[in-house]
C-alpha cells in the first residue's frame, strides 16, 4: 500500500482520517494494509487492518475497507478480505478476523455474512451519528462480526446468539 492512496476519498461512508492515522497503520502492520488499483492507476479500493488481542483473543482486525462506487459489484472487497485473512493466518497466526459494522448497514452485514462472518456481539453506541441520518440505536450501535481462522479449532469466535449479547463501548477494544 502506498501512502498516496488516501488522498482521494470523497465517499461519505469512508471517513478521511489524519495523516498519522494512516501512517500509524502502515508503520505497524504494513502487510495488513492493502490497496487495489485499476490498470489505469485509479484506486479501486483499500483495506486497513491490524493485529491485536491477548492469548486466544489474538486476531486480525479490519479497521476500514472501502471500494470506489465505479468498482463495486466486482468482488473487490471479498478479495481484499481474503488476502487480509490469509496474512492474519500465515504471518500473524491469529485465531480469527473481526470487524465492526453499523447495525443499520444491512448491505454490508449481508456481504460479510456471505464471506463467512457472523455477529459475535453488539457494541452499544460505538459510532457517532452520520450526517443526513436521524440517528437511533441501529445507526449508532455496531456489530462485532468475526470469522474463525484455522487456528481457532474450537470455533470460539462463533456463537449463534451473538446479536443478543450487548456490551458497552468502553469494553470494546
Amino acid at each position: 500500500m502506498s501512502t498516496a492512496v488516501f488522498t482521494r476519498n470523497l465517499d461519505l461512508w469512508t471517513e478521511t482520517y489524519s495523516i498519522s492515522f494512516y501512517l500509524n497503520y502502515l508503520a505497524r502492520w504494513p502487510d495488513l494494509c492493502l490497496v487495489q488499483e485499476a490498470p489505469n492507476g485509479k484506486m479501486m479500493g483499500y483495506v486497513l487492518g491490524k493485529a491485536e488481542g491477548h492469548a486466544q483473543e489474538w486476531h486480525g482486525h479490519v479497521t476500514a475497507i472501502t471500494v470506489a462506487p465505479e468498482y463495486r459489484r466486482l468482488g473487490l472487497a471479498r478479495k481484499m478480505m481474503d488476502e487480509l485473512e490469509r496474512i492474519s493466518t500465515e504471518v500473524y497466526n491469529g485465531y480469527f478476523v473481526d470487524l465492526y459494522v453499523r447495525c443499520a448497514n444491512h448491505l454490508a452485514i449481508n456481504m460479510y455474512e456471505g464471506m463467512g462472518y457472523s455477529v459475535y456481539r453488539r457494541v452499544a453506541q460505538y459510532y457517532s451519528r452520520l450526517p443526513h441520518e436521524k440517528g437511533g440505536r441501529d445507526q449508532e450501535d455496531a456489530f462485532d462480526m468475526r470469522k474463525p481462522l484455522p487456528r481457532d479449532t474450537m470455533r470460539r469466535s462463533v456463537r449463534p446468539n451473538g446479536r443478543e449479547i450487548i456490551i458497552p463501548r468502553d469494553q470494546a477494544p
Partner: protein, 969 residues
C-alpha cells in the same frame, strides 16, 4: 501551582520544566523562553524533564535543539538506554541520518540489541539516498555507506530473514549496490521464497531485482505459474508476465544474432537484456511443468519451459489468458483485460516491424464489452485499448456501439450501466471536433435517458427499500455525460447559455444524488467561470475536503482564487479557505516525523523511505506555495503596507523560491467523457493551468518589489523580461501584461539606496547593530555596489530603456516610463469595460480588474521608499524630487482609471440583480425542458437567481474593494 511548588523546591527541574510549558500555554512566550534556556543550560538528564522540554522546544519551533539536549544528556549518562534511544529518535525527527546512524551503532555496541544495529543500517541507507534532502538521490559517498550497511547486515547476530522488513532492507542494499547475484541467491533460499510469498513489498522488490538482473525467463515462468496454478490474479502479475515474455523474445533475438556472429562481443547480449541463466532445451509455453528448478548458475541456453520462437511464446500467453478467463468466467476481469493488453503489446511490436496489424484487438474489445458492459468500470477498462484502434477499426467499433445503443434498455440496473458505457465509449471513440448540433442532440439524448432511468434509483436494488440519501443514483453518469456535451457545445460556439444549461443539469442531478462529489467538482468549475464564486464555494464545501485532500484538491477553488477574494470588504470566505488548506502542512511536519519514528520502533523498514518521501512531497508541495502566494495577494490589499512587514514576507518568499516543488494536485478527479484529445478539465479551467513556472515568475515579481520597498538587496529576482520569452505558457494574457507592468515599474523607479540584510533585520527586531563598518544602515547613496546589482546588471536584449544610472535619472526616460505605467491602468480599464460589454465570461473581467488593483498596490509597494509614511526606517534620498513627482502623477492617473473600472463593475452588478436578466438566463435554458419537464424554466430560473446573486456579490465586492484600495492608500 508550579510557582507554589517552586517556592518549596526552587531547583526542582521537573516543576521548572512544567512551568515553562505552562507559561507557553498561557501565551507568555518571553518568560517561557527565558526559563527554557535556563533549564537547557543546566543540561538535564531526567527523563521527565527531557520529555517536557521536548514539548516546549517543539512549541517554540526550536526542534533542532531537542537533538542537542538529548545528545548532551546521553553523553552524561551513556549507560542510559532510554536516553540513547530518545537521542536517536530526535535525530530521525530532524532527518539527520548521519548522527542517527552513529548513535544507533553506539547503542548496539553498548546494549547488544540487534534492533539498534538495524536502526543504524536503515539510517545509513537513508543517508546514502539523501532522503528528504534538498536534492534527494544517491550521494557521492553512497557506495561507502551502503557497503558499510551491508557489512552490518551480514555480521548481524540475527539474519535478515527474521522479518519481511529486515529482508526488504537487506535486498534494497544489495540492489542499490548492484550486487544482484547475491540478492538473487537470497531470494532463492527457502526462507527468502517464503517471504516473497507472504509479503507484497518484498515480492515487488524481488521483481525489480529479477528485472535488473535480466532474469526475464525466470520471471515469465514464475508469473505463469502463479496465474495458472496459484490463483494469483494480481494485475501486476499479468503485466509482468507480458513484459517479461517480450523481454525473452528480445533476448532470444539478440542471442541468435550473437550466435551467428561469433565476432560480436559477449557483452552485447548483456546490453540488450540479461545473461541467460537456464539450461535445458525448449519445450512448452509459459506454464510450468511443475518441477521446481531455480537455477543459480547462469548457463547460456534457453529455459526448458520456454519456446524459442516468438510466435510460440506469444501463443503461449494467448492460450494461458484464454484458459484463465474461461475458468474465472465473469467474476474476474484480470485475464480478459490481459488478453487485450497482450494484443496491444503485439500491435506495438508489429508496427515497429512494419507489419500489418491483426483485428484481434478489435474483436477482443467487442468481446470485453459484451462480457462486462453491465459494470460501471467497463468504460475505464476499455479506454486504453480503444485509443489504439485505427481509423478503419474505429468505424467498425462505432457501428458496433451504435447497434448496442439502439438496443438500449433502461428498465434494469444492468441495462442502464450498459447504456452509460455505450454512451461514454461513443463519445470517446468519436472524432473531434464535433459540431454544436451533435452535442446538443447528445445532451438531450443523455438527459432523456437520465430521466427515464432515474426511477431505478428510487429503491435500493438490494433491499427494495427507499434509496437512502447517502446512496448515489445509478443514472448519475448520464447527467455528467450531458454536462460534457453541453460544455463541448459551449467550447464550439462560446454561447454562454450552454454553461447555464450545464449548471441547471448539475443542480438538478445534485439534488437527487447529494453525495455525488463529481457534481460538486463540476459545479465548482463552471460557477467559477461565470464568476459566481459564492456558489462555487458552497459546492466546494459540500465535498467536505479535509486532511491531506486539501493539498490535492484545494486547487479547485483556490486557483487564481484572489480574483474573487472579497477580503477588502470584510468577506473572509476565500482567505479562510487558504488557511484551512494550509493546515495539513503543519500536521505533516509534526505527525509524519512521529510516524517515521514509529516505523523505526516497530522495525517496519520497508515503509520508512516512503514515509520520508511522503513528508517531502507534502512539505514541498507546489500547491502549498501557490496557496501561500494566493493568500498574500488576497491579504496585502487589506493590510497597511510597511517596509518592516514586507521584509519578513520577503524572506519567506525567498525561502519558497529555493524549494524543489512537487505537484500533488489531482486533476483526475474531474470526470472527463469528452472525445479523444479533449479534456473537460482544460475546457473548464479558469485560465491556463498554473505550475512551477507561474509560481517562480510571480514569486520573483514580489520578491523584487518587496526588496525595493524594504531597501535590501536580493539575489533571487532577475529581469522579468527574460521570462517573457519561453516561460509564460502558464500565464493568462492579462497576467503577462501585469508582469510587463512590473518590469516597467522596476525600470522606471530608481533603486533606492540599499541597506544590508543584517541591518534591516536589526532595525526590525530592535536589536543593536554590531558596530563594524558593514552594518551601517545607510550605505553610501547611489554609488554602492548593491544598487548596481539591482540596476542594469544582467539585462537582456530587448528591455525598456535602462535608466537607473548611478548619477541620477534621465528625466526624459523617466517621463516615458511613467507614461507607459499609467497606460497600463488605462488599458486595463478599457479591457474590463470591453469584456463586460461584449458579454465575455465574467471571470475574465474580474481577473483583469483584480490584476489592475494588484498593480496599483504593487505601485504603492515600490514607491514606499519615496512616499512611505512610516518614519522609522526612512532614509534620505537625494534628488528624488522628479521621481516623487512622476510617482504621484501616475498614481493619480491609475486611481482615476480604477475608479472608472469600479463604476463599470458596480453597473454590471446592478444588471446581474435584475429580473430581466434572470428571465433571459432562464429562457436560454428552455431547450432543457425538451428532455424533461423537471428542467422547467422555473427550475432554471431558481438556478439563475442563485448564480446571478453570486455574480452580483462578486462584482459589487470587487467594485467596492477597488475604491477602498484607491482611497485607502
Amino acid at each position: 501551582t508550579c510557582n507554589k511548588l517552586l517556592k518549596k523546591q526552587p531547583k526542582h527541574e521537573t516543576i521548572r520544566a512544567l512551568k515553562s510549558l505552562a507559561l507557553l500555554r498561557a501565551n507568555k512566550p518571553e518568560e517561557a523562553i527565558q526559563l527554557c534556556d535556563e533549564i537547557l543550560a543546566a543540561k538535564p538528564t531526567d527523563d521527565t524533564v527531557l520529555g517536557i522540554m521536548q514539548h516546549v522546544l517543539k512549541h517554540l519551533d526550536r526542534t533542532p535543539e531537542i537533538t542537542t539536549m538529548f545528545e548532551d544528556a546521553f553523553k552524561k549518562q551513556p549507560a542510559n538506554e532510554e536516553l540513547g534511544a530518545q537521542t536517536f529518535m530526535s535525530h530521525i525527527r530532524v532527518g539527520s541520518w548521519k548522527n542517527a546512524q552513529v548513535i544507533a551503532l553506539k547503542l548496539f555496541k553498548t546494549f547488544k540489541q540487534p534492533k539498534y544495529l538495524f536502526w543504524s543500517i536503515m539510517s545509513a541507507v537513508l543517508q546514502a539516498q539523501n532522503a528528504g534532502g534538498v536534492n534527494p538521490g544517491m550521494t557521492d559517498n553512497a557506495p561507502i555507506l551502503l557497503n558499510l550497511a551491508l557489512r552490518m547486515v551480514t555480521t548481524s547476530p540475527i539474519p535478515s530473514f527474521v522479518s519481511p522488513d529486515h529482508f526488504y532492507l537487506h535486498l534494497t542494499i544489495l540492489k542499490t549496490l548492484d550486487k544482484l547475484d547475491e540478492a538473487y541467491e537470497l531470494i532463492h533460499s527457502d526462507r527468502g521464497k517464503r517471504l516473497c510469498d507472504t509479503s507484497l513489498v518484498v515480492d515487488e522488490l524481488r521483481r525489480d531485482i529479477f528485472k535488473a538482473k535480466g532474469a526475464c525467463r525466470e520471471e515469465a515462468i514464475l508469473c505463469g505459474e502463479r496465474l495458472s496454478k496459484k490463483g494469483d490474479r494480481n494485475w501486476i502479475t499479468f503485466l509482468s508476465l507480458i513484459d517479461s515474455t517480450f523481454d525473452v523474445i528480445k533476448l532470444n533475438e539478440s542471442q541468435s544474432k550473437t550466435d551467428t556472429d561469433p565476432a560480436a562481443p559477449a557483452a552485447d547480449s548483456k546490453g540488450a537484456g540479461p545473461p541467460p541463466e537456464e539450461n535445458k532445451p525448449a519445450s512448452s509455453n509459459g506454464e510450468s511443468k511443475g518441477e521446481d528448478d531455480p537455477e543459480l548458475t547462469p548457463k547460456p541456453t534457453p529455459h526448458p519451459e520456454l519456446p524459442l520462437e516468438p510466435e510460440a511464446l506469444i501463443e503461449g500467453l494467448r492460450e494461458l489468458f484464454t484458459r484463465v478467463a474461461k475458468e474465472d468466467g465473469l467474476k474476474e476481469r484480470g485475464a480478459h483485460l490481459a488478453s487485450l493488453q497482450l494484443e496491444k503489446r503485439i500491435r506495438t511490436r508489429e508496427e515497429g516491424q512494419g507489419n500489418a496489424t491483426s483485428e484481434t484487438l478489435l474483436f477482443l474489445a467487442k468481446q470485453y464489452f459484451d462480457n462486462f458492459s453491465d459494470k460501471t468500470c467497463c468504460f475505464e477498462d476499455l479506454k486504453p485499448y480503444v485509443a489504439t484502434l485505427e481509423e478503419g477499426e474505429l468505424t467498425s467499433w462505432l457501428a458496433f456501439l451504435k447497434e448496442k445503443a439502439e438496443a438500449r434498455d433502461l428498465s434494469s440496473a444492468a441495462g442502464l450501466a450498459r447504456f452509460i458505457n455505450v454512451s461514454k465509449l461513443q463519445r470517446f471513440s468519436s472524432s473531434t471536433p464535433r459540431a454544436e448540433a451533435d452535442e446538443q442532440a447528445d445532451a438531450t439524448r443523455y438527459l432523456k435517458a437520465y430521466f427515464e432511468a432515474l426511477p431505478l434509483g428510487k429503491y435500493c436494488i438490494f433491499s427494495g427499500k427507499d434509496l437512502p440519501e447517502t446512496e448515489l443514483q445509478l443514472a448519475d453518469d448520464l447527467a455528467i455525460l450531458a454536462l460534457n456535451a453541453l460544455v463541448s457545445a459551449w467550447t464550439v460556439t462560446r454561447k454562454e447559455s450552454y454553461l447555464h444549461q450545464a449548471l441547471v443539469v448539475l443542480e438538478y442531478a445534485s439534488s437527487k444524488s447529494k453525495q455525488n462529489y463529481q457534481f460538486h467538482v463540476l459545479a465548482v468549475r463552471i460557477y467559477r467561470l461565470l464568476a459566481a464564486n459564492g456558489q462555487a464555494l458552497s459546492h466546494y464545501r459540500a465535498m467536505d475536503v479535509k486532511q491531506v485532500q486539501t493539498d490535492t484538491l484545494c486547487h479547485l477553488i483556490l486557483s487564481r482564487g484572489s480574483t474573487f477574494s472579497l477580503a477588502l470588504i470584510g468577506d473572509v470566505g476565500m482567505t479562510q479557505e487558504c488557511i484551512a488548506a494550509s493546515e495539513i502542512y503543519n500536521q505533516n511536519s509534526s505527525e509524519t516525523a512521529d510516524m517515521i519514528i514509529r516505523a523505526f520502533q516497530f522495525e517496519k523498514y520497508s515503509q520508512i523511505t516512503e514515509f520520508v518521501e511522503f513528508e517531502d512531497r507534502l512539505d514541498n508541495s507546489l500547491q502549498r506555495d501557490l496557496t501561500r502566494l494566493e493568500y498574500v495577494r488576497m491579504k496585502f490589499a487589506t493590510e497597511k503596507l510597511e517596509p518592516e512587514a514586507l521584509l519578513l514576507e520577503l524572506q519567506e518568499l525567498e525561502f519558497v523560491l529555493d524549494k524543489m516543488h512537487h505537484d500533488n494536485r489531482d486533476f483526475g478527479v474531474i470526470p472527463n467523457y469528452q472525445p479523444r484529445g479533449q479534456s473537460l478539465a482544460d475546457q473548464t479551467s479558469m485560465g491556463v493551468v498554473r505550475g512551477f513556472q507561474w509560481l517562480t515568475v510571480f514569486l520573483q515579481l514580489y520578491i523584487r518589489a518587496y526588496a525595493r520597498a524594504s531597501r535590501v538587496e536580493t539575489s533571487a529576482a532577475s529581469d522579468m523580461n527574460t521570462f517573457l520569452s519561453g516561460w509564460l505558457s502558464e500565464m493568462t494574457e492579462d497576467e503577462k501584461t501585469f508582469l510587463k507592468f512590473s518590469q516597467i515599474l522596476h525600470d522606471w523607479i530608481p533603486c533606492p539606496p540599499l541597506q544590508s540584510r543584517e541591518a534591516a533585520m536589526a532595525a526590525l527586531t530592535g536589536t543593536p547593530v554590531p558596530s563594524d563598518g558593514t552594518s551601517t544602515p545607510l550605505q553610501n547613496t547611489n554609488g554602492d555596489p548593491a544598487a548596481k546589482a539591482n540596476g542594469e546588471g544582467e539585462r537582456k536584449d530587448t528591455p525598456p530603456p535602462p535608466h537607473v544610472k548611478q548619477d541620477g535619472s534621465d528625466p526624459v526616460t523617466v517621463e516615458a516610463s511613467a507614461q507607459t505605467a499609467a497606460k497600463y491602468f488605462e488599458d486595463a480599464a478599457a479591457r474590463v469595460k470591453a469584456l463586460v460589454e461584449q458579454g465575455e465570461l465574467l471571470w475574465e473581467a474580474c481577473h483583469v480588474a483584480a490584476l489592475a488593483q494588484e498593480a496599483f498596490i504593487l505601485l504603492q509597494i515600490v514607491s514606499l521608499p519615496y512616499i512611505g509614511k512610516s518614519g522609522k526606517s526612512k532614509m534620505k534620498i537625494t534628488d528624488s524630487g522628479s521621481v516623487v513627482e512622476s510617482l504621484k502623477s501616475v498614481r493619480a492617473q491609475a486611481a482615476t482609471q480604477l475608479r472608472a473600472t469600479s463604476i463599470v463593475l458596480s453597473d454590471a452588478a446592478e444588471k446581474e440583480g435584475s429580473i430581466a436578466r434572470r428571465d433571459k438566463w432562464a429562457e436560454g435554458c428552455a431547450a432543457l425542458s425538451e428532455a424533461d419537464a423537471a428542467l422547467s424554466t422555473e427550475f432554471a430560473s431558481s438556478v439563475a437567481k442563485k448564480t446571478l446573486d453570486a455574480r452580483k456579490t462578486v462584482c459589487d465586492g470587487l467594485a467596492k474593494g477597488i475604491l477602498k484600495v484607491v482611497e485607502g492608500h
